[in-house]
Amino acid sequence: MTKYILNRLFHSALVMLTISFIVFFIMFKAGDPVELMLPPDATQQDVIDMRAALGLDKSFIVQYQKFLINVSKGNLGNSFIYGQPALDIVFERMPATMELAVIAMIISILVGIPLGIISSIKPNSIMSRVIMFFSLAGISVPVFWTGMILVLIFSVILGVLPSSGRGEVYLFTSAFTWDGIKHLIMPVATLSIFQLALILRLTRTGMMEVLMQDYIKLATAKGVPRKVIVYYHALKNTLIPLITIIGIQFGQLVAFTIVTETIFAWPGTGKLIIDSIQNLDRPIVVAYLLVISFIFVAINFAVDVLYTLVDPRVRV
């Protein structure tokens, strides 16, 4: 087990290094932001001076080397646009995005799995069909549209929910205050609908497949209560592929917050990264992608370890 963990850690570090190189290279090729940052009345000399001040006049290798040295000291550079340390800015905005992603994931799991189970037990019942219809809608409808419609109905027409912004924050999250919760409802709903539908359908398919297995027939024949079969034996075996998907989907959730954050003016990292890419703010793009890769790598690692606990057939 220890050898496995060390192995994985080494590979993870390699992945992060490769990512940093690729991102740095791409942003380097995209051009420098000095042209965009300086006003039209700046002279060519000002452009040269600013470029030198930001260290952008050196070659790619020199810049990348400097970057790596700084990273080893924990410094990911200062944002070209904001002038503040890039890592600080990313961390400042991270709680907002994580809050959306985590709550959306929790809701999709808590609602999606039970609904998936219900629709798998009696697949042709009316209840099942209704659930499947809505899940199809959930997967097909674009996030952007859902968000706008929710804003239109609940904020503009009914006026019961705030149309944008984050609300009061307490202990890094807005979920602890009523004002915060009012601001959370629509963005979370928008973000979770797709995930919910996906988890629902996966659970249903997984359960239906498992319920047809021989060992289920054996358990039924032995007289094990239906509830125990479904909610204990079958569900446990369905969870294995589900955990993998949830791990990967969490990454997608964080990515989709870009759209949700734009609509709801949610001050998270999704919006930050889009703006930074457009403004050619390389330190923030690199810092953000490294943080996200780190989270992914960590989640995948946790998922793999979780496997060994859930599935006795898997041995490391």
Partner: protein, 510 residues
């Protein structure tokens, strides 16, 4: 009984509302830094103008007025003596005096990340005469000196000396009507009123600026009364806003000209294909043909939904240098075709039009409309719309033959566009940095340089107008399209007047 309860509740609500009047502003973009010298762009300048004062101030029609400087004299053409306002305090209680002015100007000029160097490049030195008097010396007689000063926020020497850039970027200490209480990038900028402001206390106790960059979100915010003002109402939502009986709607002619630049320098332009292999844009008849061949009224009507002013020259009416005698000729495709034939291109030619797609209002759509207009006179235009980061980089390297661009004469004076776009490009002096078609006319250059030293406004105006006429009417160096218009919406509960410089100055809002 019910009526009494409702009545009491309303009174209670009104009382509490009256106790802390908060203004909520929804903006199309937020501030990039709290350091007023870091970014010279409208959104940041607009927000910070509430926290900082300048020596000279613009009113809403961009006329200059005393700010932190109460009076000034111009004893010699290059010398300005300014008397500073006494009794003014910064937000932290520090006294405002000449040392702060010297400190500010030195920082603007020498800080390596200063975005305002261009505004002070003509100033040679600034000295302290006494605690409330400073002397500026300009390199040459500088008629636009006062206008440039409206951009230099005054910082507090005592608070900022020895602090690093990062600290300054987060802690704005000004003399302005509002002081910063909290800044969450991309979420809100909260300010409290400065009770000791020298012009008098502002009407609102608190201001909250909220960047709402998504157009639909911004409109939803004002329709649901979550904000009191929004700027840059998207043209497609104008009708929705107008229909609301709780909102006022404002249209303000702006300072930004949207125009086309053409490669007039190279004999072989990279993105033009003609039957004779030459560059047709070097012929003034071809340029005139393009001008006559673009149906600008259709662009204003269909692309801008009526919210743009067709332009015939470089400076809009509010800018000093505007020539009321220049009128835009009517759309005339027959004349355009005739001019093309006369120039040797009866069957037109192929050309690529470059345009940004996320910089100006409906920029890519305008380019498309130009292309379809020119197709009808035989010029086949391919539109290449790219994000601003790519667009400015490529056009900067002159990898373009024909492009759409904008220019805001934010000083209120024609010299900015003449110096930056019309004058022949000169890397050392900085002239023509945005003259990417490399238009060059030495007569125009001479007029521009002459106007830079004329102190008498009436005489200077004549020279500026002459330079403009020669460049745009005779040479047709650019194709002016229209001036952008700022559209605002505000709640009927407040009294809001729009400004020509697109800023939102809360002090004037009641």
């Amino acid at each position: 009984m019910k009526k009494i309860i409702i009545g009491l509740a309303t009174v209670a609500l009104l009382c509490s509302a009256g106790n802390a009047k908060t203004l909520k502003v929804g903006l199309a973009s937020g501030a990039l830094s709290m350091d007023p010298y870091a970014h010279n762009e409208t959104a940041t300048n607009s927000i910070l103008s509430n926290i900082f004062d300048t020596l000279i101030a613009f009113d809403k029609d961009i006329k200059t007025h005393p700010g932190l400087a109460v009076s000034w004299t111009n004893p010699e053409p290059t010398v300005w003596i300014m008397k500073l306002r006494e009794g003014v305090k910064f937000h932290n209680g520090s006294k405002f005096n000449a040392d702060d002015v010297i400190f500010s100007f030195n920082r603007v000029k020498t800080w390596n990340k200063s975005g305002f160097k261009g505004k002070v490049s003509a100033i040679d030195s600034v000295e302290k005469i006494d605690e409330y008097t400073v002397k500026f010396v300009t390199k040459k007689p500088y008629p636009v000196f006062l206008r440039k000063l409206t951009y230099i926020s005054i910082l507090d020497k005592e608070s900022l000396e020895g602090k690093n850039d990062q600290w300054i970027g987060l802690n704005p200490i000004g003399t302005g009507p509002y002081k910063l209480t909290s800044w969450s990038k991309g979420d809100h900028i909260k300010m409290d009123v400065n009770k000791k402001y020298w012009r008098g206390v502002g009407k609102f106790d608190k201001v909250i600026f909220r960047p709402l960059t998504n157009n639909a979100t911004r409109v939803a915010a004002i329709l649901s009364n979550e904000v009191d003002i929004i700027n840059r109402v998207p043209v497609v939502d104008v009708n929705r806003v107008k229909k609301s009986d709780k909102l006022n709607f404002f249209v303000q002619p702006g300072l930004r000209l949207i125009y086309l630049q053409m490669d007039q320098d190279r004999d072989n332009s990279p993105f033009i294909k003609t039957h004779d292999g030459k560059n047709p844009l070097k012929d003034v008849r071809v340029r005139k043909a393009i001008y006559y061949g673009i149906n600008e009224d259709a662009i204003v009507k269909y692309v801008m939904k009526g919210f743009a002013e067709p332009a015939a020259q470089l400076s809009p009416p509010a800018v000093f240098g505007n020539d009321p005698s220049i009128k835009r000729p009517a759309f005339n495709p027959e004349k355009a075709k005739a001019l093309l034939a006369e120039a040797g291109y009866p069957d037109g030619f192929e050309i690529q039009l470059d345009s940004p797609n996320n910089r100006y209002i409906n920029d890519a759509q305008i380019a498309q409309a130009v292309a379809s207009s020119l197709a009808k006179i035989g010029i086949k235009v391919k539109v290449n719309a790219t994000p601003k980061s790519t667009f400015f980089k490529e056009t900067g390297k002159l990898k373009t033959s024909f492009f759409l661009i904008g220019w805001a004469s934010s000083d209120g004076d024609a010299s900015s566009i003449l110096d930056g776009c019309v004058h022949t490009y000169n890397a050392e002096t900085g002239y023509g940095r945005y003259n990417r078609g490399r238009y060059s006319n030495t007569k125009v250059d001479a007029l521009i340089e002459k106007s830079a030293g004329i102190m008498d406004p009436a005489e200077r105006l004549k020279v500026l107008q002459e330079a403009q006429k020669l460049a745009i009417v005779e040479d047709q160096n650019f194709i002016p399209l229209h001036y952008q218009v700022d559209i605002y919406a505000s709640s009927k509960n407040i009294k809001f007047e729009t400004r020509t410089d697109s800023r939102i100055w809360v002090y004037d809002i009641k």
